[in-house]
């Protein structure tokens, strides 16, 4: 059993080794890591080779070298390079694994061996992750050494990038495997996988937008409620103009003959915001539910930041951030603390457990690979 498994893994390595794309990506990863070594921070600003570029944002007073390098690794190295460019190149390189494997003339050579179809298929799928595992493993090791030597910060947490990136890629690969089984075509499975990935990313962006709207609305509600309370208190403190009290609408206001007072306007805004809140919440709940069933690519790679950065690091990064522009629409004059909205969103995202992020994604992956394995076991080749 071990002999057969090792043979399949060794074969997968030989396949990679023969691919120019594998070495090209590895070379580009080397350039990315090399750029880490070339860039540093000092008290004045950014160090590029021997030159210093003065910067108010990037300097060792705000970002100690260890945090700076971790930030570069997480944002440029993982989020940009490995999770986008290298992932697409990895998909291009591995999309043919299943179509080639099940092609006529090849499949007979392996199915006629004393190995069960299910084990054969699952081992082949796992071996398909070798590309990304090797890439991210080498990248993380190189980054670990560069950051250790250059930034004097030996950060073993960087190696979290290996399981997280492999996990992230495995979601896409599972889609590719199923599509490869169905279409038997490398090009079709690759393009459709990229399409599904774009769909997942679109859903994630939409859900994030609705989360922002929801939290913004929530804070607006709270702000308006507070303002209404304050205005009511203010009104109660001044002599009453009508015997019916502040809550009763003024006859003149009802006919529009006299402009509304601030209290009424805020009340109307409060009511309107409450109504908006309802559909925003419902839409967000639906999006969240759909997202729960799908792989969470962005959240998975963002887990690395949770592992790498402490709360103090994050506060330090936030200090420099400008306050987001206010989300006021039309004649809306209610000012909402956008920093607070950001904080709330961050808290909500951080409260999404690793189990939810990884567990539900792996469940999705399991269903897809299970369906592909079922097809593989039942199909006549």
């Amino acid at each position: 059993m071990i002999m057969q498994t090792l043979a399949i893994v060794r074969d997968a390595y030989r396949d990679l080794n023969a691919k120019k794309l594998f070495w090209l990506v590895l070379m580009l990863s080397g350039i990315v890591v090399g750029s880490f070594a070339a860039v540093g921070v000092n008290e004045k600003g950014l160090e590029v080779f021997v030159w210093t570029i003065e910067s108010r944002i990037f300097n060792s007073r705000l970002f100690p070298p260890a945090v700076f390098y971790k930030l570069m690794f997480a944002t440029l190295g993982i989020n940009f390079w490995l999770a986008w460019i290298a992932a697409i190149l990895a998909l291009v390189s591995t999309a043919g694994i299943i179509p080639d494997f099940i092609s006529s003339g090849s499949i007979e050579l392996v199915l006629s061996r004393p190995i069960g179809r299910l084990r054969l298929f699952l081992t082949k799928c796992l071996a398909g992750l070798l590309f990304v595992t090797l890439q991210v493993g080498v990248f993380s090791l190189a980054a670990f050494l560069v950051i250790g030597i250059r930034g004097r910060a030996w950060e073993p947490g960087l190696f979290w990038a290996v399981p997280l990136t492999v996990c992230f890629f495995s979601y896409l690969f599972a889609i590719c495997v199923l599509l490869g089984m169905v279409t038997r075509s490398t090009i079709a499975s690759l393009l459709l996988t990229l399409l599904v990935w774009a769909g997942i990313f679109g859903l994630h962006t939409t859900e994030s937008l609705f989360l922002l709207l929801k939290e913004h609305n929530q804070l607006k509600l709270e702000t308006l409620a507070k303002q209404v309370d304050e205005l009511q208190a203010e009104k109660a403190a001044t002599p009453a103009e009508t015997p019916t009290g502040t809550d009763a609408p003024r006859p003149a206001q009802a006919t529009g003959a006299k402009p509304r007072g601030p209290l009424e306007r805020r009340r109307e805004q409060l009511e309107e915001t409450r109504q908006n809140s309802g559909w925003i919440r419902r839409t967000h709940s639906i999006l969240f539910l759909v997202k729960t069933a799908l792989p969470k690519t962005t959240e998975t790679k963002d887990l690395l930041s949770r592992k790498l950065f402490t709360a103090a690091d994050l506060d330090r990064m936030r200090q420099d951030q400008k306050e987001p522009p206010p989300m006021n629409f039309g004649a809306d004059d209610v000012r909402v603390d956008e920093r607070e909205v950001q904080r709330r969103i961050e808290r909500i995202i951080n409260e999404r457990s690793v189990g939810w992020v990884i567990g539900t994604s792996l469940l999705f992956e399991l269903v897809l690979v299970g369906a592909a394995a079922f097809m593989f076991c039942r199909r006549d080749f």
Partner: protein, 395 residues
């Protein structure tokens, strides 16, 4: 896999299949109840026209295709058992080795999948590459191999696990004559080692040279099965070629021979008749191309060979046919023809040749693919409606 039999050790048959049936998508009846036995140590040839179901049967044996029904055993294991596959070597038709592997790496990889220990793989890989003439190509990538070299590598691969049964699907496909001879020698080498060889091929002459058992598959059923001797028993005969005596004219030989043989054979009063050849095997069909015939678009019936022959009988009712200077005697017993030879020699006839003749594999094949009633050649391919279909028509 349904209807699997239980393990029974010690069978004389390497392959013992019954009721093998496979229907694709509920419509195309690729196999319609195959019964087939292959003795251990035999070289068995499976023949059949394109689409007859040969590769489907082989793939069922190798667990590549799942049958609708299959009973029987291979090497005493139930059909479909993965454990059996460790003892079977298989060369698929149109196989494709990963082109990033070298010849030695390919053998190593597939050997490992067959659970051959690493040390054995190395030694055996080198030995087999030498056997198939690829010793100098061991470290070369498969992508640079010609069709014939790939086929040789495929045969080496099929032998990597030192199998008891070797299943070769079109082993000489795309191989040049030298390669074919080499492959034939490998097969004979395997036979001498007591291995069972199951060959699936279109090349009848190749099969005829190495097979001692054959089965002919037509439209999903076994049309004929047995040893070459069994299958050709009815067609065996002697053919004697004679030249007339010194004073005789060759053109009168056919007319004079009955008189010369009057002491040993009795000829009909009408000495010249238009009659088919005595062989039960019809000659090859005419080409199906050309303008539509009176058969309404079907291939015309196989033309029965007609010639001016003189028919008679030897003692014991053995038929004899005279056609020009040649005689065909419907027996394979040499004792029966001795009085005939004596009579010819006594009359001064010159015996040019005496040859025992039997039907060739091609004759058997053509007989199998010809409808005995209509004389139509059956259409290639599987039976879409589960019945025999003649070429260009429906049964």
């Amino acid at each position: 896999m349904s209807h699997l039999s239980t393990f029974t050790p010690g069978s004389d048959f390497a392959i013992d299949l019954t009721h093998v049936a496979k229907t694709y998508r509920g419509k195309v009846h690729a196999l319609r109840g195959i019964n087939m036995q292959v003795q251990r140590g035999a070289v068995f040839g499976l023949l059949g026209p394109n689409g007859a179901g040969k590769s489907t049967l082989v793939k069922i044996m190798m667990t590549v295709i799942r049958p609708n029904r299959c009973e029987g055993r291979i090497l005493s294991f139930p059909v479909g058992s993965k454990a059996t596959l460790a003892h079977i070597g298989y060369l698929p038709e149109h196989h494709k080795f990963p082109d990033y592997l070298t010849a030695a790496q390919a053998l190593d990889f597939y050997g490992a999948l067959s659970k051959v220990p690493r040390r054995v793989r190395r030694a055996r890989g080198a030995e087999l590459l030498e056997l198939v003439g690829l010793k100098d190509w061991a470290t070369k990538k498969v992508r640079g191999f010609s069709k014939g070299m790939r086929q040789r590598l495929g045969i080496a691969n099929a032998l990597m696990n030192d199998p008891d049964l070797v299943v070769l699907d079109e082993p000489t496909d795309g191989v040049d004559p030298v390669g074919r001879r080499d492959i034939r020698n490998v097969l004979l080498h395997l036979k001498s080692q007591g291995k069972t060889v199951f060959l699936n091929s279109h090349l009848l002459s190749e099969l005829e040279m190495v097979c001692d058992h054959v089965a002919i598959l037509v439209q999903g059923i076994v049309s004929a099965q047995g040893t070459m001797d069994e299958l050709t028993a009815d067609s065996r005969r002697f053919e004697i070629e004679v030249a007339p005596p010194a004073d005789g004219a060759p053109e009168h030989t056919q007319r004079l021979l009955p008189a010369a043989l009057s002491g040993v054979a009795r000829f009909s009063l009408t000495s010249s008749i238009e009659a088919p050849r005595p062989s039960p095997i019809p000659p090859p069909p005419s080409q199906p191309s050309g303008p539509p015939s009176s058969t309404g678009g079907m291939t015309p019936p196989v033309p029965i060979s007609s010639a001016l022959v003189t028919k008679g009988e030897l003692a014991g009712g053995v038929p004899i046919f005279i056609e020009g200077g040649s005689m065909r005697i419907g027996t394979d017993d040499p004792v029966v023809i001795q009085p005939l030879i004596d009579a010819l020699r006594a009359r001064g006839y010159i015996i040019r040749s005496v040859r025992p003749v039997r039907a060739s594999l091609e004759d058997l094949f053509m007989k199998a693919v010809t409808d005995p009633v209509t004389g139509l050649v059956l259409a290639p391919g599987a039976a879409p409606n589960g019945k025999h279909t003649p070429r260009g028509g429906h049964a």
